[in-house]
């Protein structure tokens, strides 16, 4: 009952003209930022954070703006995933796997609208989840100790390696490369500098933005260069603009499942949209079994990751608001924004600053509706941005990418590193190596190592702790199954084919 009252109070805050305007602006900017390859929610939020502060917006308004940008990015990322086969942001990597083939098959409009719809459902469910479970879920996430975290990350790698069915070794290698890149710089336990070559520029390690922009946007330019002669690139939306009821019913349960999983993953500190979308994609791929044609344009392969990345984006607000521990890189930037206003997120925020918390939650509902509205009928407006000719688009992507790197890391060194990683990424991609495990490895590397070491510190080196709790045992079983089952299935299918032929 209390909750309902607070929520109504929140709507009173969110529905003021200023906050409505701000939410709409944020949603619009977010969609564009999310759509542009190389720019993700972290860049969007980081760029707008000083602006919000400079414009002297009150804290709840600033937070509403940033939250709308964040949600908008999760919506926008899918547009370039589907039409360009370039993930607009990390959460939309999975969406490209089936979204782009769908678009190639002339179903671009359907892919875009169903993904907007599932984004909407994902975010809606997760926002309801925040309202209902915020305190409960936060307590549950706390039950994850270092051992469980380590098991969870191994599970995530198992998922993503098993997922790249045709080249599991290359996927695993990509993950290892990502993990290795993450070990560069200061070791946060012992204070030792690793793989820096004595260069201070690497003392904090390689920046996430540099890696993401290097391997995704710079290498993409080089790949585009080969493809443009064979005239691939932006796919024009043709045919149906909207999904039909049959398609909605077909994806309904998959969207719901993915929303719930996405929300839960989002709540876990550190685990975000990238993992959520990867997990649900492989989950749906597995559930569909031989009926699915994942990778060739299965509509569920678009609905699942989009529902999950929006749900996890909303879910990541839970640990930020209740524990002060950001659930994603983007919410980490928001914690920084709040500290500008001298507000420390923590357990007391709900009671001390209900205007802020419930205003934010209510505005998530509102921004979400706005995003659905601007993303289905107005998607054509956004694709105009993508319809630029390649000779203008490619330098544009490069320029915006460089700005993105420079805005957070104003050194020539990092721009050069971005270029270098772009070249390496290009060569690896040419060799058929998937980049998603690399990014996942890079994001998780530090957490993974620290959790492993912390777990082993608890038992003074005894490995037993890694398989002690039921949660970790479950995760390990899941991980093994993810790695072992798919090859066995393929082997069986192969044998059955051989038997059929005989």
């Amino acid at each position: 009952m209390d909750t309902l009252q607070f929520l109504l109070g929140g709507f009173a805050v969110a529905l003021t003209p200023q906050n409505l305007m701000v939410a709409a602006t944020g949603a619009f900017i977010g969609t564009i930022v999310g759509m542009l390859p190389g720019l993700g929610p972290i860049n969007g939020v980081a760029i707008l954070m000083p602006l919000a502060f400079a414009l002297k917006l009150p804290p709840e308004t600033a937070l509403i703006l940033l939250a709308a940008v964040y949600m908008g990015c999760e919506y926008g990322g899918r547009i370039s995933s589907i039409l360009l086969n370039v993930p607009g942001d990390a959460g939309a990597i999975m969406t490209a796997l089936d979204g782009h083939p769908m678009a190639k098959n002339g179903l671009a409009g359907v892919a875009l609208s169903i993904s907007a719809w599932s984004s909407f459902i994902g975010a809606l469910i997760a926002t309801v989840g925040i309202v209902l479970f915020a305190p409960l879920l936060a307590r549950w996430a706390l039950a994850f100790g270092p051992a469980e975290y380590f098991a969870l990350m191994c599970f995530a790698f198992a998922c993503i390696t098993g997922l790249m069915g045709d080249a599991p070794v290359k996927a695993a290698l990509a993950a290892v490369i990502g993990l290795s890149l993450s070990t560069v710089g200061l070791d946060s336990n012992s204070g030792v500098y690793r793989f820096t070559g004595g260069d201070v520029h690497l003392s904090d390690g390689i920046q996430f933005i540099v890696v993401v922009i290097g391997v995704f946007s710079v290498s993409e330019i080089l790949l585009m260069l080969e493809q443009h002669r064979s005239s691939a690139g932006l796919i024009h939306i043709s045919g149906r603009k909207l999904f039909n009821l049959k398609e909605m019913a077909f994806t309904w349960w998959c969207t719901l499942r993915s929303s719930v999983v996405g929300f839960v993953v989002g709540v876990l500190p550190g685990a975000g949209a990238t993992i959520a979308s990867a997990m649900t994609y492989s989950m749906e791929k597995r559930l569909a079994g031989p009926d699915g044609h994942f990778g060739d344009g299965d509509i569920r392969g678009v609905a699942a990751p989009e529902a999950a990345n929006n749900a996890s984006a909303a879910g990541s607000f839970v640990p930020m608001l209740t524990l002060g521990v950001p659930g994603s890189g983007t919410t980490a930037v928001m914690v920084g924004a709040l500290s500008l206003y001298n507000i420390t997120p923590g357990p007391a925020l709900f009671t001390q600053n209900p205007t802020l918390v419930w205003g934010l939650i209510a505005s998530l509902f509102i921004a979400n509706v706005m995003l659905l509205v601007i993303n289905i009928p107005m998607v054509g407006v956004f694709t105009k941005v993508l319809r630029l000719p390649n000779w203008a688009l490619a330098p544009g992507i490069l320029a915006v990418s460089a700005v993105g790197v420079f805005s957070v890391h104003a050194t020539t060194f990092d721009l050069m590193l971005m270029s270098g990683l772009g070249m390496v990424g290009y060569l690896l991609r040419k060799q058929g190596m998937p980049m998603a495990p690399l990014i996942l490895g890079f994001v998780l590397g530090d957490l993974m190592e620290q959790n492993l070491r912390r777990a082993l510190s608890i038992t003074n080196g005894e490995l037993g702790i890694l398989v002690e709790s039921p949660i970790s045992i479950g995760l390990w079983i899941g991980a093994v199954a993810m790695v072992v089952v798919p090859p066995l299935m393929r082997l069986r299918a192969h044998r059955m084919q051989a038997a059929d032929a005989a």
């Binding site: 502060f53 204070g191 104003a410 060194f413 620290q450």
Partner: protein, 328 residues
């Protein structure tokens, strides 16, 4: 109005009118951290205070250059941008500590002009609310009795400020820092959570952080603050370590430096501007809002302080068996 101020105003007006780039024209603050980090806040403090007091005509721009608690920015300024009079760079006590340990590459503390310190935080010994330890004496006695029973948590690595504070406490109990029990967390938030969960017994954190966490409802208690006198605000009731008989001071100053080739005249303009700015009540309000305690030093006074501090850190690091940089 005294003559100096009038002259300055005139000079500033001329500078603005003729668009000759004076040091306070089109200013830039380099925050050697990601947006939203502590250095960003330091830059923002200068940005808003300078603007509010109308010391600068255009708002100060902020660029981000994270890496090594200031190491990247330090190298960029010394090597590539040494003569930029309108660029100031934020630093903190953590930067100085890293500088002393040779983590700033080939440069040392004599390579820049230390400009102004705008505020400070202080180290604090924090325990859980229900902890049996009531004072520094209790803590030291407990460490003496059984070093394995008292686990120090910290928001940083070995050799970081948090570790140093723990090591100093352990040393005052007659314990070699190498044999204390120490756990590094990712930032102070995690350490405070671990403190409340009973995973660690002591957290050698910062006063303003503890203050804010307590306001946010964290069940923690501050045993001592590592300042020379008691702090203002809600921690006024907490005795200093010195009062309790332990000579441990750990200020974490926040301030700015300028490049080595900035002229003495420009350096002086900056230092005077900061001195004047820090005397205004608006500045003090903004400083308190950002959780900083008063600590105003500018120009040569700060320069001497910083150099003494770095020398002290170097001695400490050597005593504790860490790597140190050799002063040129």
């Amino acid at each position: 109005m005294n003559r100096k101020a009038a002259l300055m105003t005139l000079v500033l007006a001329c500078a603005a009118a003729t668009a000759v780039a004076g040091p306070l024209d089109k200013t830039e603050c380099i925050a050697p951290a990601k947006p939203g980090g502590g250095f960003d806040l330091t830059c923002k403090l200068a940005q808003s205070s300078l603007m509010q007091g109308k010391f600068v005509a255009d708002p100060m721009r902020i660029t981000y250059m994270p890496g090594g608690i200031g190491a990247v920015a330090y190298n960029a300024i010394v090597a590539q941008r040494p003569a930029e009079a309108n660029t100031i760079v934020a630093f903190s006590g953590g930067s100085l500590l890293n500088l002393a340990q040779g983590k700033f590459g080939r440069y040392n503390e004599n390579d820049v002009h230390w400009l102004a310190a705008v505020g400070s935080d202080f180290g604090a010994i924090i325990v859980a609310e229900g902890s049996p330890l009531k004072s520094m004496k209790d803590l030291v006695a407990a460490v003496k009795a059984d070093p394995t029973k008292v686990v120090f948590g910290a928001g940083g690595t070995v050799g970081s400020q948090d570790w140093m504070k723990a090591a100093l406490t352990a040393r005052s109990a007659g314990l070699n820092p190498k044999s204390m029990r120490f756990v590094a967390f990712e930032g102070g938030g995690e350490a405070i959570t671990a403190l409340q969960g009973g995973h660690v017994q002591v957290y050698s954190g910062d006063a303003s952080e503890a203050e804010q966490q307590m306001k946010a409802g964290a069940k923690i208690r501050v045993l001592a603050v590592m300042s020379d006198k008691r702090l203002e605000g809600s921690l006024a009731g907490v005795p200093t370590a010195k009062e309790q008989g332990f000579d441990i001071e750990w200020p974490i100053i926040r301030g700015f430096y300028v490049g080595p080739k900035v002229s003495d005249a420009d350096y002086k303009v900056w230092a005077d501007t900061f001195s004047k700015m820090m005397a205004t009540p608006e500045f003090n309000k903004l400083r308190v809002e950002r959780g900083l305690f008063p600590f105003a030093k500018t120009g040569p006074e700060l320069d001497a302080y910083v150099k003494a501090r770095v020398a002290y850190y170097r001695t400490l690091a050597k005593d504790f068996g860490l790597n140190v940089a050799v002063a040129k």
